[in-house]
């Protein structure tokens, strides 16, 4: 068994015994076959001594048990690592950042505590999966729609805490943006409620996020400061219909205008669904991989030769049919001046969806959880086998035409120089409304030599992106220190403030040590090594 470094076997065994007393012996796991569940199947350290492994796991059933477990860990300085559903594949799976940590597996806390139809909000426990929530909404006849990531087996809480994203409406598809109200067990075992939840008797916990004073929700995003036991979310009223459309332009030089107008229309609420920017001519070999953006004349010649658009902007409108049709008509009028512009209505569906609709739609765009993405050959996944594994590379880049071109060229050139494989590369993902995210899926291996090379290459890419002012918004544990290092303004003031907060709230450094590059004082020097 991997026991936490610097800890005696006796102390650790005593800690596990105390945990068993709290949750019951069958809910503490320390046998290798059980701990397999808490390995990161997509780890870039697979099978190497550095692989992040749990020493044990404990699965509490309620908040009181979480508090008791945190106190037990704190008293003995046993590192613990909370997960909700632990499906963070591509960003660390269910493994802890610090080897030897005891995973607090919150899957048994799976109650939907409240759905408020009039306020369009909900309050859930961490083990509630997107599938659970969807079933709850449909079985209760709810008129609400949630936003889901591509794989539906994750949790509203875990996904939002790692800043996940979906495909639906602005303000909802950035899952952290839709959070309203958090309850967390702090490292001392006490319970904190943020926002209006701090006011006993308040009925507005899921209505007003800020409460009074500094807004503390941010303490829990990608952090190591508390075990979140309840979280509120805003939900979208089920729209009457959804219209999808595209605006395509035929010249290299039209991209800037395409993005500029699209931004204005999105920020002005003329459309509300997730937009997509692509280059049909550069993705003709593989729709999920944009090849290197060539010089303007070359690209324009490719367009002339193939008849495919240089760039395309896909937009989605959720709302009453009358409204979305007007919005689409107005949108067309705004792009009409671009020579050769093409407009296409690519889909229109009324809700609720019919069984036939269900067969042809991309379910997450309608807040319907699915596991389709894991089926080889499915939309969005190409022929990459999920059992081989990959990591995500996700850097925030400027939301402009120039942003797409620069990110594409830099990333493509780096991958070529380093010999780094990508099986998905989209420089302009729009989970958030005000920036693009350059998304790439990088295959990982069950081979230490190849993974070692891969890690070096990814670190180089992180540094190159940082030199252009692009930082990752999320990353697997292997790269958290490198990514945090890149946010270096003011001699790493961001990290130093995070460390000061960590020391104040978790002086024994027991909770999620090392997450996103924030190490407790006693591990800071060696960063957990």
């Amino acid at each position: 068994m991997t026991i936490p470094s610097g800890m005696t076997e006796a102390t650790f065994a005593d800690g596990l015994a105390a945990m068993r007393d709290v949750v019951g012996a069958e809910w503490v796991f320390d046998q290798p076959a059980d701990l397999n569940t808490y390995r990161d199947f997509y780890s870039v350290f697979w099978g190497e001594p550095e692989e992040r492994l749990a020493s044990a796991a404990a699965a509490p059933a309620n908040v009181e048990q979480v508090q008791a477990l945190v106190r037990i860990a704190n008293e003995r300085r046993i590192p613990i690592y909370p997960i909700s559903t632990g499906r963070n594949l591509g960003y660390g799976g269910s493994a802890p950042v610090l080897s030897g940590s005891v995973v607090l597996d919150l899957k048994r806390m799976d109650r939907v505590l409240e759905v408020n139809e009039d306020n369009c909000s909900c309050l859930v426990e961490p083990g509630v999966s997107f599938f659970d929530m969807y079933r709850h909404l449909r079985e209760s006849g709810s008129k609400l729609m949630m936003s889901v990531p591509d794989p539906g087996w994750g949790s509203l809480v875990g996904n939002a805490l790692d800043s996940g994203g979906g495909y639906t409406v602005a303000g909802y598809r950035g899952h952290w943006e839709a959070v309203c109200g958090i309850e967390a067990v702090m490292p001392d075992g006490e319970l904190l409620r943020t926002g209006m939840g701090a006011l006993p008797g308040s009925e507005t916990w899921q209505q007003y996020r800020l409460g009074i004073g500094p807004c503390l929700d941010g303490l829990f995003r990608q952090s190591s400061l508390g075990v979140v036991t309840k979280m509120g979310f805003w939900l979208y009223p089920m729209p009457e219909s959804m219209l999808s459309a595209s605006v395509s332009v035929m010249r290299f030089e039209d991209l800037e205008e395409l993005v500029r107008i699209a931004n204005e229309l999105e920020y002005g609420n003329v459309f509300n669904g997730m937009p997509g920017f692509s280059s049909p001519v550069l993705a003709r070999e593989n729709p999920i991989v944009m090849s290197m953006v060539p010089e303007p004349e070359v690209m324009n010649a490719m367009v002339a030769e193939t008849g495919l658009p240089a760039w395309s902007f896909a937009s989605n409108f959720y709302g009453p049919e009358r409204v979305v049709r007007e919005q689409w008509a107005y949108m067309q009028s705004r792009f009409a001046h671009i020579p050769g512009v093409r407009f296409a209505e690519t889909g229109f569906v009324r809700l609720p969806l019919t069984p036939e609709d269900m067969e042809r739609i991309h379910k997450p765009r309608f807040g319907i959880p699915s596991l389709e993405i894991f089926s080889v050959g499915s939309r969005g996944y190409g022929d990459f086998n999920p059992s081989d594994g990959h990591i995500w590379f996700s850097a925030v880049i400027p939301r402009s035409g120039q942003g797409i071109i620069a990110a594409n060229r830099v990333m493509r050139a780096e991958c070529e120089r380093l010999g780094l494989d990508l099986f998905m590369f989209v420089p302009s993902v729009t989970c958030w409304t005000r920036s693009f995210v350059l998304f790439a899926a990088v295959p990982v291996y069950k081979d230490a030599t190849r993974n070692r090379e891969l890690r070096d290459k990814v670190r180089e890419v992180i540094a190159t992106c940082a030199s252009h002012g692009w930082g990752e918004y999320r990353c697997p544990p292997a790269f958290m220190d490198n990514v945090m290092d890149a946010y270096s303004f003011g001699e790493h003031k961001l990290r130093r403030v995070n460390e000061a907060i960590k020391d104040a709230l978790d002086p024994n450094g027991v909770l999620s040590a090392g997450r996103y590059g924030v190490w407790p004082r006693h591990l800071r020097e060696g960063r957990g090594a």
Binding site: T37, R87, L371, V376, G377, S378
Partner: protein, 133 residues
């Protein structure tokens, strides 16, 4: 009720069966509660004489999960056998582990790959006290 002996039995029986499609579950071991067949592999449609529910799907595990397994795997028992691509097995294994179940047997089959995906024959059985008791 699933006992530890049952699990060992299923683990032992499967490798003894053939690795072609028809041999795969021609003699389905007693005690399977359902069988899952991946229709991307030829043969999945005509293997219908099983004495247990047979659920067919084409690679996407979603309907299987929402329609059957999500509820059944919360309850004690339920031993599932399957012939599927490795992609679907990966998803089912992950779902199973978080519900106190394990793949107790897995064997690569001599079937042509589909989209490069290897077919496996496998059995998933409960092992955690909350689902075996």
């Amino acid at each position: 009720m699933t006992t530890r002996r049952d699990m060992l039995k299923w683990g032992a029986v499967l490798p003894a069966l053939g690795t072609g499609w028809h041999g795969a579950f021609a003699a389905a071991p007693q005690g399977l509660d359902a069988l899952v067949l991946d229709t991307r592999y030829p043969g999945a449609l005509d293997l219908a004489d099983a004495s247990m529910p047979v659920w067919r799907f084409a690679g996407d595990v979603t309907p299987l999960w929402t329609g059957h397994l999500s509820a059944r795997w919360k309850e004690p028992g339920h031993v599932l056998g399957g012939i599927t691509g490795s992609d679907a097995l990966f998803v089912l294994e992950t779902l199973a582990e978080h519900r106190g179940r394990r793949v107790v047997s897995r064997l690569a089959l001599d079937l042509p790959r589909v989209n490069g995906v290897q077919a496996y024959r496998w059995i998933i059985a409960p092992h955690h006290p909350s689902v075996t008791a």
